[in-house]
Symmetry: C2
Subunit: 340 residues, 2 copies
């Protein structure tokens, strides 16, 4: 018969009490070094690993963090995830993935799963519940589950968030385009109602207006679009028949498709039309021409969001502690913009 290797078993073998065994793993400074070594040896011998489950029962901590993404196609989220995972695992926390693929139904299911699992906190990236007036975030807050938003923020709610200075990013892009004399500008973007996107737009606009300019066209692609190529095709005329110098793509992920689209139309980049992106996803540098873009430090955003979350989790005292972090955007000049 299989004997079960639990804390009692170990305590008997080591001739100590279960409490002492427990201390070895949790507050090992409280136990005499000799006793500790003896116990550790026994644990090793029987390959004992204390159950986090049982421990969660007592402590109300699961050491899990939820990571919610709106899709797993845009590599932006993968980089975010990487940053968060790396911070978490260093602290013995692990990430649980929730990919909603922009489905409201899935979000409902995830909320349920998250609460049932007593996950310690949650990192929300992208647009979860965005359509329904931040429904997802509201539910999380209502239950007082520690959470942090990445690359997204909501006004009037007490949620920490990590973003890039998007307004400034917009300015950076516009400044550069004017500097290289690209004045006839088209814009392609995800939904402007997403605040961070709107901020980019505002920054960009500000510079244009200061120079007595405005965009020639503005194309909005729904974030949850399943086919960006098709969206571009729909707007073919706008894009091609306005004699523009440059297109400001407010997301590199869109730029991926845009370059493809333009090539298909035999438009040379940047000779015929320049393109500038936003995000600097990993693949932007592999494009041809290499994409000039406004970089966000995506990895760092993920990393930081996890850091903030964990610090909020451990400080039960001040549950309302809020931390917002705004990172600097950076212009990365590559080859997709023509200097006129």
């Amino acid at each position: 018969m299989e004997e079960k290797i639990d804390i009692y078993f170990i305590s008997k073998k080591a001739k100590v009490s279960p409490a002492t065994v427990s201390r070895v793993f949790n507050r090992s400074e409280l136990v005499n070094e000799k006793t500790r070594n003896k116990i550790l040896k026994v644990c090793e011998k029987y390959n004992y690993k204390p159950s986090v489950i049982a421990s969660s029962m007592r402590t109300n901590k699961t050491k899990y963090i939820g990571f919610v993404v709106p899709n797993m196609t845009n590599p932006f989220f993968f980089e975010l995830l990487k940053g968060a995972e790396e911070y978490a695992s260093k602290e013995d926390y692990y990430l649980v993935i929730f990919n909603s693929e922009n489905s409201y139904e899935k979000e409902l299911i995830f909320l349920d799963a998250i609460f049932k699992r007593r996950i310690d906190g949650i990192i929300i990236s992208g647009i979860a519940g965005g359509k329904k007036d931040n429904f997802f975030v509201r539910e999380i807050l209502k239950k007082k589950l520690p959470c942090v938003l990445v690359d997204r923020y909501v006004e009037g709610m007490n949620v920490p968030s990590v973003i890039t200075d998007n307004f400034k990013g917009g300015i950076l892009a516009a400044d550069y385009l004017l500097e290289i004399k690209n004045k006839r500008i088209g814009i392609i973007t995800f939904d402007l109602k997403i605040k961070i996107i709107m901020d980019r737009y505002k920054g960009f606009k500000k510079v244009l207006e200061e120079n007595g300019l405005q965009e020639i066209f503005l194309i909005e692609i729904p974030v949850d679009s399943k086919d960006i190529s098709e969206e571009l095709t729909k707007n073919k005329n706008k894009i091609l028949e306005n004699d523009i110098d440059v297109i400001f793509c407010m997301s590199d992920f869109i730029a991926l498709y845009l370059l493809e689209f333009l090539k298909e139309m035999n438009i040379r980049i940047p000779q015929d039309i320049s393109v500038i992106g936003f995000d600097d996803i990993y693949y932007s540098k592999f494009l041809n021409p290499r994409l000039t873009t406004i970089a966000q430090d995506i990895y760092k955003m993920g990393n930081l969001s996890c850091e903030i979350l964990l610090s909020n989790i451990s400080e039960n005292k001040n549950a309302d502690k809020l931390e917002n972090r705004i990172l600097e955007p950076k212009l990365i000049i590559r080859e997709s913009c023509l200097i006129k």
Copy 2:
């Protein structure tokens, strides 16, 4: 004072026993519809969600699956992850991410975390523990933790795995190259000691040999290389001074860097040198020229691996049940190979 909302609380409010409440959530067919509705209403009212933690204590099931990746830069793993997550979440299982970044130390830590957390099963993608004679997999098997390998297999161990027919993939690539009369062939690959890679190589070689040919050079890049560009630069002479027709890149991720490298050298693709890849990662179609490659159905591999794992988890009876799945590779002709 906060009253705690647990199964007892609900059972009192609903005037039933805790067991009945439990049944509503687990085996609801056993409880009378009226009783069930009454109970559900009470749960709703108090916003009661049964704790998966407590349930795990009794059932020894955590409803978590570990997903181990060797790195989070190659998008291949993101697609795998997506496939697995989608299957899992449909079944109310969730994925816990373990990214080793090819570090043996991290793998040790992960093993510990996995066992402590009593995770139900594990999907291993990539090379975890590969260097140390499949150390990681051995440890998992030793503890009889259900597991499945994706895009990797080991001989002589009783582990289910999901792979593509790599040998055939190699043949497909070679057949095509000969068909378009690209006979002077260079090969760039990750470590040949990885079995799936070796299989690709063998298939490819077979065709070459049948045609009295052999590769002009073979460059091996360590999977855990932190700088693929640098590896290519090291081999600059081999690549440029052999008057080759084409390079077979046994991974699209390498091809990303190779195209970049060749452009840097002012080599035109495919006019000067053709390139064919393997994997068909999402970004291959955005490259310029669009990458001709041997496609694996990466999403499906992830999806299937999760399906197999879950089926093995539920069938405690036949713990040794083994399932290996081999998917078909597919030649995707795009623009990176010159028809001579």
